[in-house]
Symmetry: C2
Subunit: 571 residues, 2 copies
């Protein structure tokens, strides 16, 4: 490919709406173009990258006996009604109707379609296990698309579905897929991706893992232990607490003028945040019913844990005068409101706490949960914190990092096979529902994550395995220097004939423009043919990551370059 024919613009200024580097480079380098919120078109360089990523995924899925199939983008609502998700999923599921008013949805994931495809096929236990996968466009009507390809509405995903006759078989296969995922990231140039235990959310099932690239721009919080290999998504990380009993104190109402927040209250009373019991109020999306969560004042509520416990979607509350809730002064004693009241484990057995008195400008002190709130049930609703106790090794060694989720795998159980009535006859003649696993990676997000992990100030540094081209050939002054023209044209043709993917810049532009464009395209091996080098009868070979630089004789350059490209493939 000659660079002067490449469709797409490259430019220097970082667009102000690009908050992360991968987004900025992909816009500046002519990789992608904004169409509407969370929806992009791709130019050739990005298309070449994503096709290579897809091929790596395909090979690794085939290697774990996957069968490539395809499911529709547009599906009948009835299929999603069978699983119950037509009702349970919120606005992310794009719903619409066709010319005959038949309700349809855009696939955001394909568990239903997978069960639909195979449910008449696998009637006997001998057909199991099997795995089907596709690489297909999906749509999720995200409320807040962000960061270029990191969180979009339309995306291409490799999604796989496995079917099993026992939990043991699923677990074995789940491990194989886990390893296949590790190979995918390693081959795509991201061996640093780690897997963390995660929350299964709307997918159903219990055990699931997310694959995370740790990076400050990530939108997920990852909990890691400094003392062991515990890793979990904040949403799923269990909060372990040790509650120390204080001296007994009576429950007393205190006038606390101006103390509306925990900070103001602790300043007023001269106590620590951990010595208070605070209230966080939500409402159910469906009917706006209030949910009051009490937890220790130094902790934060984990909405995912709350949602999972309640089995429904919630949002931060808008507290009305009629609610019976006295905002800023809500406490567990004497609360008189039509609300679901929940208690976090951090309050279990706690005493000597300050809390709201359910009355303007008043708090209580000396709250003893066992004594004053008898019958309260305690569950884990709080976020883990730095220095918290590791649920695996028990040491207070938790730290929190940010990460981009670049893949996830789920043990789904029988949620879909039961609801959609997929059955098989087992060896003993009994009729059972198969157990499912599912396994997804977003293609575009992985491309963006590679760029986040591998770039410098001037552009992406693509690994050879996914680079849009393998060699970037710069013919400096080729337009008006016959010798450069001759040597670089010949190299272009010879390299291509040898099967190397070459982007060739023979434009009449100054070397600075050539090199900054090359930086933006991020091709791993750069070959420069220039009048100055040719005087020494050499050409220059450098790597995009600056780890390699050499001058090689024009004579025999092709063979030498082929060796270098092969070396880079093995890196």
């Amino acid at each position: 490919m000659k660079l002067d024919r490449l469709v797409g613009e490259r430019f220097k200024e970082r667009p102000s709406d690009c908050l992360v580097d991968s987004h900025a480079f992909m816009v500046r380098g002519g990789y992608m173009k904004f169409v509407t919120t969370g929806i992009f078109s791709s130019y050739m360089p990005l298309k070449r990258i994503t096709r290579k990523i897809e091929q790596i995924m395909r090979e690794e899925m085939d290697a774990v006996d996957g069968q490539e199939v395809s499911f529709p983008v547009v599906m009948p609502a009835s299929m999603w009604e069978e699983s119950g998700r037509y009702e349970s999923i919120g606005k992310e599921l794009m719903r619409f109707s066709d010319r005959n008013d038949s309700p349809l949805v855009l696939g955001m994931t394909h568990e239903e379609a997978a069960v639909h495809l195979v449910r008449e096929f696998a009637k006997g236990y001998k057909s199991y296990p099997f795995m089907i996968y596709q690489i297909q466009t999906k749509f999720r009507d995200e409320a807040r698309p962000r960061a270029g390809l990191i969180r979009v509405r339309e995306f291409t995903m490799k999604d796989a579905y496995s079917f099993h006759t026992s939990q043991e078989d699923l677990e074995q296969y789940y491990d194989r897929c886990h390893k296949a995922y590790e190979r995918i990231y390693a081959r795509a140039g991201l061996p640093e991706v780690v897997s963390v235990a995660s929350d299964s959310g709307m997918m159903g099932g219990k055990i699931s893992h997310e694959f995370m690239l740790l990076t400050p721009i990530g939108e997920d919080s990852i909990v890691l232990c400094d003392e062991c290999d515990y890793r979990a998504n904040m949403e799923a990380a269990e909060n372990i607490l040790v509650t120390e009993k204080k001296a007994d104190a009576p429950l007393e109402k205190v006038h606390t003028p101006g103390a509306h927040t925990i900070e103001e209250l602790t300043a007023f009373l001269g106590c620590k945040e951990a010595d208070t019991c605070k209230a966080v109020v939500y409402q159910r999306n469906a009917d706006d019913k209030y949910i009051v969560l009490f937890l220790r004042g130094d902790l934060e509520a984990n909405e995912t844990k709350l949602t999972n416990f309640l089995g429904c979607d919630i949002h931060p509350a808008f507290i009305t005068e009629e609610s019976g809730l006295c905002a800023g002064f809500i406490g567990p004693v004497g609360l008189d409101a039509d609300a679901i009241v929940l208690y976090d484990s951090s309050l279990k057995g706690a005493n000597g706490l300050a809390c709201g008195a359910n009355e303007e400008e008043h708090h209580m002190t000396g709250l003893d949960m066992d004594r004053d709130v008898p019958g309260a049930e305690f569950h884990d609703f709080a976020k883990v914190f730095v220095g918290g106790i590791c649920p695996k090794c028990g040491k207070p060694a938790l730290r929190i990092e940010r990460g981009i989720e670049v893949g996830n795998i789920f043990q789904l159980g029988t949620k879909y096979t039961e609801s959609m009535n997929m059955t098989y006859t087992d060896q003993d003649g009994s009729v059972k529902h198969p157990i499912m696993g599912c396994y997804g990676i977003g293609v575009g997000r992985l491309a963006a994550a590679i760029c986040e992990a591998h770039h410098d100030d001037y552009g992406p540094i693509w690994p050879m395995s996914v680079a849009p081209w393998q060699v970037h050939l710069c013919g400096v002054r080729a337009a008006d220097t016959a010798e450069v023209r001759e040597v670089s044209d010949k190299l272009y043709n010879d390299l291509q004939a040898a099967g190397v993917e070459v982007i060739y810049d023979d434009r009449k532009v100054n070397p600075g423009v050539m090199f900054s464009d090359a930086d933006l395209l991020g091709v791993p091996v750069r070959v420069t043919v220039s009048p100055r080098n040719l005087k020494e009868n050499v050409i220059e070979v450098t790597s995009r990551d600056k780890s390699f630089s050499a001058k090689i004789p024009v004579e025999g350059a092709l063979e030498e370059l082929l060796k270098i490209v092969e070396d880079f493939k093995k890196r």
Copy 2:
């Protein structure tokens, strides 16, 4: 791949809802599964076929300097409003709104997206010509999906868009693409596909061609000349007529009791259909305004020509009592109705015609168009007929055949670049709109067309270039014959190691089931290892199309088979 692991059912009975062979075989052979009207999932065999077809398309598009990009499936309505197609296209364009009530559409074609992607890029004439293409899912809310993959709602299409600075350049490139399309069909095993001049319909532009597989199950009518190479879609074929003057006759009203149709009228009057002037009535979709077309009684109206002339969509009329139209007796003289009245060229200069008298049970005779309908304008609104005059060579040698459209190419002109304001500065400094061409092939429909053209009573006969596998290995009684097991397992492994795609049937089923399953999968080369053959120390090689059959020694079988596979690739 082992056949016993292959997901999907194969069965014998032809499903009653499968009207064409490709549909029946693809359902019976475990290629596809119905999801909802016009929407299917694909199993592995079909997915492998379509991926091979896509790769052929990709290579041929790259060979004509195409750049693979990707456009979104979901696009903002505003983009289609720019081109005017948001209004002009009917219900086939799937319209819906997202969570913020922003109107969106599902892409059924991507001219708008193509212009959007490049309009800031190609500001100077030197950037031209260029071509971008994608292979992507599309959705068209067809009123009448039919025939399996032949006419669906969701489909994968290769669509390409070229941009030019002159009509000559477009025409040159259009020819290159025409040839690339011929290569695609030839490589996919359909060299018999022909191109025909076609109507450009909603795409805009003047010159366009459709690529047609001639087959009785096709839904298009193709006009061909027996005397020259004229070929056109019925929708676009010009109707050439010679009108013979008859003796003068006065215009007279005749009582024609019971003569409501042309047949009844000609029987009553004892004249030929060609001696009548009939009326065909439509209504505009937008406002139901009536359109009355008069044409010679032996001809049929061509709705496409009418639609193109009117510039709006129409439907057959529902004639009310208030319309002023006297159904069955409508004639051009004394017609008193609020309607657009059109005259087909077949009536130009005609005389001695019978026609309706705009009065129940009455007709006129002796109609002379020049005398009785002065000022009428005549246009070509009629369908060509068998034996009609060829517009190219002028001989009365037209014949009509059925065909499946398997691709189309359009010279679009500046319809999209003007409406979406894409401009470039020409060599002379003037600002112009680039001229576009577009080029599309549906992947699934091509797969179905290959199956229609190449099958027998037992299943598809896939060409090697698109076959789901290259070799179908049958290990007859492998399950309980050690020698068969040994030889066929070894062949399976050796062939795969040599890069051959093998589907291996080692199931414990009788040979009849094995062979009928193999027929349904349609793999070109079949290798049978059986106890009987092994007694002679040979294996049997046959081709799916029955053109080839041989017994080859077990010793050296691999090398011999590799040669056979190579031979089939060259066919």
